[in-house]
Structures are given as structure tokens and as C-alpha cells.
């Protein structure tokens, strides 16, 4: 079995990749994809810690991840609905161009 550090490093890498994508891409949907990757990386962290914990029968890690998956799905739905509504108004999904409230 791989050590805990292996899973944690994988989770950190996925988080960093998701963060990089969310901060650098222009399209709003890709930003949302980056956020989903970050949430998944955190879930992997929870499951890895649960597996290597001293009391795995408490199932705390699994419970957290189940609720996290549910919340992430709800957030993706609402976020995408917002993006569709914004597209309908601004006719673009470029995050740099949705700046009417600026300055």
C-alpha cells in the first residue's frame, strides 16, 4: 500500500493544477472546472486520511466526502446556470469582459 504521503502529494498536485486553471483561463466554464478539480483534490485528502487513521470505524472521512460530493454537484449546477444567464446578457463567457461593475 502506498504511504499516506503519496496520496497527499497527488491531492496537492491536483489542487495546484485546478487553482492554476481557475486563475489563468479566460472562459468562465473552465474556471468552474478548475474549482471542481480543487474540490475533488480535497475529497481525496479526506479519504486518504480516513484510511490511515486510528479509528476508521467512525467513518468520518467517508461521511465528509459524501456530503462534499453532494454540495459540489449543487454548486456546479447553480454556477453553470449563472454562467448561462450571464452569457444570455453579455453574449460572452470571457471572465475579463464581464466587468460592468468595475471602477
Amino acid at each position: 500500500m502506498t504511504s499516506l504521503a503519496g496520496y497527499l502529494v497527488l491531492s496537492a498536485m491536483l489542487f495546484a493544477i485546478g487553482l492554476a486553471g481557475a486563475l489563468t483561463r479566460r472562459n468562465a466554464i473552465i474556471v468552474l472546472i478548475g474549482i471542481e478539480l480543487m474540490l475533488n483534490a480535497a475529497n481525496l485528502n479526506f479519504i486518504a486520511f480516513w484510511r490511515f487513521s486510528e479509528h476508521p470505524e467512525a467513518l468520518t472521512g467517508i461521511m465528509f466526502v459524501i456530503f462534499s460530493i453532494g454540495v459540489a454537484a449543487a454548486e456546479a449546477a447553480v454556477g453553470l446556470a449563472l454562467i448561462i444567464a450571464i452569457y444570455r446578457h453579455y453574449k460572452t463567457t470571457n471572465v475579463d469582459e464581464v466587468n460592468s461593475l468595475k471602477g
Binding site: M1, T2, S3, L4, A5, G6, Y7, L8, V9, L10, A12, M13, L14, F15, A16, I17, G18, L19, A20, G21, L23, T24, R25, R26, N27, I29, I30, I33, G34, E36, L37, N43, L44, I47, W50, R51, F52, P56, L59, G61, I62, M63, V65, I66, F67, I69, G70, A72, A73, A74, A77, V78, L80, A81, L82, I83, I84, A85, R88, D96
Partner: protein, 166 residues
């Protein structure tokens, strides 16, 4: 670092990088599906079977399809003409690199490297169900409410306003 873990990790990271760097949005969404499946394989390696299958069912079966529909509804089917990265992409990449460096340093200096796995881990669906109904019943009800609110909210936000759009 066993071989199955290395293969799964390599595939997941390759899929995540592809999801963040490809030009065509639909290709990005499909690469994201690959990352989700890789993560589900990691969960199965960690003996969390229920979570692994729930990940495939919810993320691959629902969230990925949502993303794909949104891409098509916002006319993202064709690759954009200019660059796909925003003007301040260097700062974003720097922040991500710093975050990863910090996390890796924290992991290296912690107990994580020499933690042995607990030998007998069993998370049957029966135990999860019992825990959901006794210890975690309040979060269960709250997440039911949250999902209902999100469902109604998403439909109302994305609904076409018949009166206003002339």
C-alpha cells in the same frame, strides 16, 4: 509507491493538466471526466468503495454532462480564436506553484511519510447507512434542503425570461 497507484496518479494528473490547458472546451470537459475516473480508481485503492462508485455516478454521470450542456448552450463548441489564457496568467501560475510548494513542504515535514496503513478497514454500505441515519442525520436533512434549493434556484436562473426578452 506501488505500481497501480503510480499508473492511476499519472493518468489523473495528465487528465487534469489536459483539462486545464486544451483549447477546445469540449475536449477539456472530456479530459475532466478522465480525471474523475482516475480519482474514483484512487478511492477504490483506498478501500472506500461506496465513495468511489458515488463519485462515478454523481460526477461522471451528472456533473460532467451538466458542464457539457453548459458549454454547448454558451456556444463554446468551437475552439476560440485568440489565446485561451487571460492577460494575467503569469501571476496565476505563480500563485499555484507557491501553493503546491507550501503543501509539498508541509507534507514532507509531517508524519505522513512514515504512517502505516490501518490493517483491517471495512466500510460496508450498511455501516455508512447506519451512520447516516443516526449520527449524521442532521447533515443529511440539510443537504436534502440544499439540493432542493439549488435545483429550484438553477432552474429559475437559467430559465428564459419570456416577458423581458423581446
Amino acid at each position: 509507491m506501488t505500481l497501480p497507484f503510480l499508473i492511476v496518479a499519472a493518468l489523473t494528473i495528465a487528465a487534469a493538466v489536459a483539462a486545464m490547458t486544451l483549447r477546445n472546451l469540449v475536449h477539456c470537459s472530456l479530459a475532466l471526466v478522465g480525471a474523475f475516473v482516475g480519482l474514483a480508481a484512487a478511492y477504490l485503492q483506498l478501500d472506500a468503495q461506496f465513495v468511489g462508485f458515488a463519485q462515478v455516478l454523481v460526477y461522471v454521470g451528472a456533473v460532467a454532462i451538466l458542464i457539457v450542456f453548459a458549454v454547448l448552450l454558451t456556444r463554446g463548441g468551437e475552439a476560440p480564436a485568440g489565446t485561451v489564457f487571460s492577460s494575467s496568467w503569469k501571476w496565476g501560475a505563480l500563485v499555484a506553484a507557491v501553493v503546491f510548494g507550501l503543501l509539498a513542504w508541509a507534507i514532507k515535514n509531517s508524519f505522513a511519510s512514515d504512517r502505516r496503513p490501518t490493517p483491517q478497514v471495512e466500510a460496508t454500505v450498511k455501516q455508512i447507512g447506519e451512520a447516516l441515519m443516526t449520527k449524521f442525520v442532521l447533515p443529511l436533512e440539510v443537504i436534502g434542503l440544499l439540493l432542493t434549493a439549488a435545483l429550484i434556484g438553477a432552474v429559475i436562473i437559467a430559465m428564459r425570461d419570456e416577458a423581458k426578452s423581446k
